[in-house]
């Protein structure tokens, strides 16, 4: 699995930084998400342990958590989309460019059919899934370690 993650990063080409940023921001978003358990803990201690409770604190923590998550999601998801589609566009163009310099003998109906399939269908799957999977998987890992 780590191999695949590494591969996706290598694949991302000039969009590598954008993709990394998406992962990091997604992780920060997850930290904001974890903040709500702080509010829960505070509430539990107050109700069960009998310490004084200020509803304002609970509300405050929750609002910070939600707003933080919103900001992080917004930027991370936009970065993820940008990286996901443009890294594939880059590869499509790269393949197209290579074809200009490949010896003529390489082409026949079969190899052309294969190339077409790779550029359309296979890369289509990559553009729809790769970036999102990477952010979810790496983000999830970082989360587990952080918690």
């Amino acid at each position: 699995m780590f191999g695949i993650i590494k591969k996706i990063f290598r694949f991302s080409g000039t969009k590598r930084n954008v993709l990394t940023r998406a992962v990091v921001v997604a992780f920060i978003g997850a930290v904001f998400k974890a903040l709500q358990f702080g509010a829960l803990l505070y509430m539990a201690e107050a109700l069960l342990g009998g310490t004084a409770m200020n509803i304002g604190v609970v509300l405050g923590i929750m609002i910070v958590s939600v707003i933080g998550r919103m900001i992080c999601f917004y930027f991370s998801a936009n970065d993820e989309t940008d990286a996901g589609y443009f890294m594939v566009a880059e590869k499509r163009i790269y393949i197209g460019d290579r074809l200009r310099y490949i010896p003529m003998g390489y082409f026949n109906d079969n190899s052309l059919g294969n190339i077409k399939a790779v550029i359309t269908t296979t890369l289509g799957d990559v553009e729809n899934n790769a970036a999102r999977c990477l952010v979810i998987i790496v983000g999830g890992f970082l989360n587990t370690f952080a918690v």
Binding site: A46, L48, R69, Y74, A77, T81, F107, N108, D109, L112
Partner: protein, 597 residues
């Protein structure tokens, strides 16, 4: 909801899956039980908390610990069964659907099939049908389960405390509003994205398909940029789309899981005022945490719904296309005489007529040639006779019977249509020829190959008659393919042969061989030629001159040269192009120039 006349995509899909409804119901029930198992785990945790807060010993919690475990095991087993069931019935449904589409293709007018790029059928039958898989296998069972269970949890929370019930719904409602906003963007953007995607696919096909030509003529820079632009436009389209909907997505994705935003403060206040017990409060917290996961999962299917609509439409486009209506029982044919009476034809109702009021008799064992400028409708007449389309008005009879009363199979036995495009299958040469008549013996195949002048070059191939032709006949030259397909038609031995002459010039040597093969093929048959070069048809029994969808003259060549100025012009032009010396003396008329183009 508004009731529309056309059924929703879902009811159409559901109808396609008719044979497998039992399986789908099973999958739905299993999925619901599975999610209910998860819910049971949450309730068990809530009960544990209740006991612990009530000051009970840990021992009392044991049954609930088991409850949590049982809940998860049930969930694991049921969701596996559900997924297996739903995938099994889904792929059966898709198989049936593809079979239905392929059967349908055989009943469509040949003309419609010729007019549709073959890539389009492939995309619809392979990719679009595949695109239904997530809908059938996942959406139907999982979406149902993921909606049923949160609703059940919400009802349970309301039963414990209605005020908390209301509080727990706030974030979900906000999230749903955002979801509908993103749905609106989706509806607006989808068509554009499809268009850009198709443009990119076309650019790719053109660039890759033409790469050899492009390279040979050093034109790579220009067409490469066109390709690169299309690829970038596709990526930009999706990025902008997401940019448009990202505010909605953000609200949806963060609010729905943040149910504690309202539940914690409201619950805290209620606890403080003493109207909600701490035990109930914590039960509700645990439940509400179990509420959001399935709900988000259900919403993630909303995107699928939009795609389903367009997939279903494309598949229905094939399944519901008008068919040729033909009887099942063979008709009795008096002879092989063909009569056209007042034939009118338009490709689609309301469109301009391509042919109007054509009257023509074709006697058995004669040679009839259609000539005329390109686009005059001469090929269309021949295709109507071959039954590629039904006439719009008038009638075509074969041996006294209207061809609409003759089963397609019987008509196909009567008529061999030899066209300019000769598709050879990726099988052996022998099998390719045998397609003319499947029960033909090897000797018969070789006999027709000899007659069509193929025997020589076929034997020279690596494996003789067992040489594989390559997809589309790629390993053979154009002239060789033409002769093999003539052999195929010869084997069929139909009394009527319709020959669409090749427009593309073939080298003289091949040309002579092909002419020889054709004269073998048409010995003792009714021959209808769509002529592009007049030299080959000078001796026809009847030459029919077609112009702008009208039959303007018919007769033997001598008669036409005397009576029909258009034919006389065309003949002059033909002589001119054949004989360079005459060129200077022969004014080339516009119509005649079109003939060769």
């Amino acid at each position: 909801m508004e009731k529309k006349k056309e059924p929703s995509p879902f009811s159409i899909i559901w109808k396609w899956a008719e044979k497998y409804h039992g399986g789908f119901y099973g999958a739905i029930i299993m999925a619901v039980i599975g999610v209910a198992g998860t819910m049971f785990s949450y309730i068990s945790v809530a009960q544990m908390i209740r006991l612990l807060i009530g000051g009970e010993s840990l021992g009392k919690c044991v049954p609930w610990v088991i409850g949590v475990a049982v809940g998860y095991v049930v969930k694991a087993i049921c969701s596996t069964i559900s997924a297996t069931l739903s995938h099994t019935v889904t792929f059966h449904t898709l198989r049936d659907l593809r079979e239905q589409m392929l059967k349908k293709l055989s009943r469509l007018p040949m003309g419609v099939i010729l007019d549709t790029p073959s890539g389009q059928y492939k995309t619809t039958i392979v990719d679009r049908v595949e695109g239904m898989e997530p809908t059938l296998a996942h959406l139907i069972p999982e979406m149902t389960a993921n909606i049923v269970v949160p609703v059940a949890i919400a009802v349970y929370v309301f039963i414990i405390d209605w005020r908390m019930g209301l509080a727990s719904l706030v974030t979900t409602i906000v999230g749903m509003f955002a979801a509908s906003g993103s749905g609106k963007v989706y509806a607006k953007r989808w068509d554009g994205a499809v268009k850009v995607g198709k443009a990119m696919a076309n650019a790719i096909v053109e660039y890759i398909g033409g790469i050899q030509v492009v390279k040979a003529f050093s034109q790579s820079a220009g067409s490469y940029h066109k390709y690169a632009d299309a690829v970038n436009a596709n990526a930009a389209c999706y990025r902008d789309w997401f940019g448009d909907s990202s505010k909605y997505m953000t609200v949806m994705q963060t609010f729905i899981p943040s149910i504690l935003l309202t539940v914690l403060p409201v619950g805290g206040l209620l606890c403080k005022s003493g109207s909600l017990s701490a035990a109930d409060f914590f039960t509700i917290i645990v439940l509400s945490l179990g509420f959001t996961g399935p709900f988000l999962a259900a919403l993630s299917f909303v995107d699928e719904l939009a795609i389903v609509g367009s997939n279903v439409k494309e598949i229905c486009g094939i399944l519901e296309a008008p068919e040729l209506v033909r009887p099942e029982t063979p008709a009795k044919l008096e002879s092989s005489e063909i009569n056209l009476k007042n034939v009118t034809f338009a490709y689609e109702a309301g469109q301009d007529e391509v042919l109007s009021h054509i009257n023509l008799d074709i006697k058995p064992n004669t040679v009839t040639a259609f000539v005329g400028p390109s686009g005059s409708g001469k090929s269309t007449i021949a295709k109507l006779i071959a039954g590629f389309w039904d006439v719009t008005g008038g009638s075509i009879t074969l041996g006294g019977t209207d061809i609409r009363q003759i089963p397609l199979e019987q008509l196909n036995q009567q008529i061999a249509y030899v066209s300019q495009e000769n598709y050879l299958f990726d099988r052996s040469v022998r099998e390719n020829i045998r397609m003319g008549r499947l029960d033909a013996a090897d000797e018969e195949v070789e006999a027709v190959a000899k007659a069509a002048g193929c025997d020589g070059f076929i034997r020279a191939l690596d494996n003789g008659y067992d040489t594989i032709c390559g997809g589309g006949g790629g390993h053979l030259s154009g002239g060789e393919k033409q002769r093999i397909s003539i052999a195929r038609a010869m084997l069929k031995n139909a009394p009527i042969v319709i020959l669409n002459e090749a427009t593309a010039s073939i080298d003289p040597e091949n040309e002579a061989l092909i002419q020889q093969a054709i004269s073998e093929l048409t010995k003792g048959k009714t021959l209808i030629v769509i002529a592009h070069r007049l030299g080959t048809i000078a001796n026809a029994d009847k030459i029919v001159v077609v112009k702008k969808g009208q039959l303007i003259a018919q007769g033997r060549q001598e008669e036409l040269l005397a009576d029909c100025p258009l034919y006389a012009d065309m003949w002059q032009s033909y002589l001119g192009s054949r004989d360079q010396v005459n060129d200077a003396d022969t004014p080339v008329k516009e119509d005649a120039v079109c003939l060769e183009s």
